[in-house]
């Protein structure tokens, strides 16, 4: 099975992967990459109103084959709340 490397950032910590995970194909790597985004979000949220979670997948040659982001954009709709 080919090995894929997942570099992730939760808005605070960017972690680059030098170990990798063996997966059957690029589609499995895509699914794994998307799957980590809600995991990171669950750990980090709620805190502020703006945050971007990001992941990018490298193959064994070091080429980025897939990347994805998940963004929180929160906004008060009333004047006084939260201030």
């Amino acid at each position: 099975m080919p090995r894929y490397y997942f570099d992730t950032c939760d808005g605070d910590d960017a972690i680059s992967d030098d170990e990798g995970i063996d997966l059957p194909d690029a589609e499995s790597a895509r699914r794994a990459a998307i799957g980590v985004l809600p995991d990171m979000a669950r750990d980090k949220l709620p805190d502020g109103d703006r945050r971007i979670f990001a992941v990018s997948v490298r193959d064994a040659d070091g080429s980025v084959v897939y990347s994805a982001t998940l963004a929180l954009t929160g906004e008060w709709q009333v004047q006084s709340a939260g201030s």
Binding site: F6, I15, D17, I21, A32, G35, D39
Partner: protein, 247 residues
């Protein structure tokens, strides 16, 4: 008389002895249980969901995972078991297996017939307590896993699991000085903690970066036990060890 340390059943004495005091008579009676060895390859099941076992397995060497398979082949691991554990002891009273026990590594296990265990417990009623205690402690560990998987963030969740697996091995003499076997893959850790394997990969890296663990060649190193305990909010009370092992 058997010498306890050389006997094939001695891991069971170590395990039960880590939870409660056994008299010499109790130890000899346990060592006289009939037991036949079998080797399982990694990935093989010792017993599967729906089976009606007629014997219990005592793990002598290697790691066993307790798991369920869900829809689409998803897997939830609910326990890791090591030498000295008898993970299907409940089969004595619950006739149909409601989950699987699989070899995570190559496993050597001893098969002990239910008949022989029942006969032993009838003959020496005092022995019911240690076996009962063993299953109660397993239940306490399951409660902790529910709290861990349900409520702790990934970083704490993995740190907590490492604390538990290290102390479990210290208790039966398989670990010391902050080092122990840890023959689990990132996928196994993901299936045990309800995280994706990529998140496990990321979190292990964070734990390493913070100097809390080293994972090398299927072994875990804990450079600073009190710091890992603090990071995990780990309280070993739920393991109910008879004597608190010194980590």
């Amino acid at each position: 008389m058997f010498t306890a340390s050389e006997h094939p059943l001695s891991p069971l004495l170590k395990k039960l002895g880590s939870l409660t005091r056994l008299s010499d008579r109790d130890e000899q009676a346990i060592l006289h249980l009939p037991a036949s060895p079998r080797v399982f390859a990694a990935g093989q099941d010792l017993v599967g969901e729906g089976d009606r076992p007629t014997r219990c397995w005592l793990i002598v060497e290697g790691w066993v995972q307790r798991y369920k398979v869900l829809d689409e082949g998803k897997r939830q691991i609910s326990a890791f078991h090591v030498a000295g554990d008898m993970p299907d002891l409940q089969g004595l009273h619950l006739s149909v297996m409601d989950h699987n026990l699989g070899a995570l590594t190559r496993v050597t296990a001893l098969s002990v017939p239910h008949e022989a265990l029942r006969e032993l417990l009838l003959r020496i009623p005092e022995l019911n307590a240690p076996f009962w205690r063993d299953t109660l402690v397993d239940a306490a560990i399951f409660r902790e896993w529910v709290a861990n998987v349900g409520r702790r963030p990934a970083y704490q969740r993995l740190a907590h699991l490492f604390c538990e697996l290290y102390l479990k091995q210290v208790a039966v003499g398989l670990a010391r000085d902050g080092r122990c076997p840890m023959p689990v893959t990132q996928v196994d850790l993901a299936d045990a903690t309800g995280l994706t394997s990529v998140h496990v990969n990321r979190t292990l890296r964070e734990l390493r970066r913070d100097g809390l663990i080293e994972l090398r060649g299927k072994r875990l190193e804990i450079p600073d036990w009190p710091r890992l305990v603090a990071a995990a909010s780990f309280n070993p009370a739920y393991l109910h060890l008879a004597s608190r092992p010194t980590a």
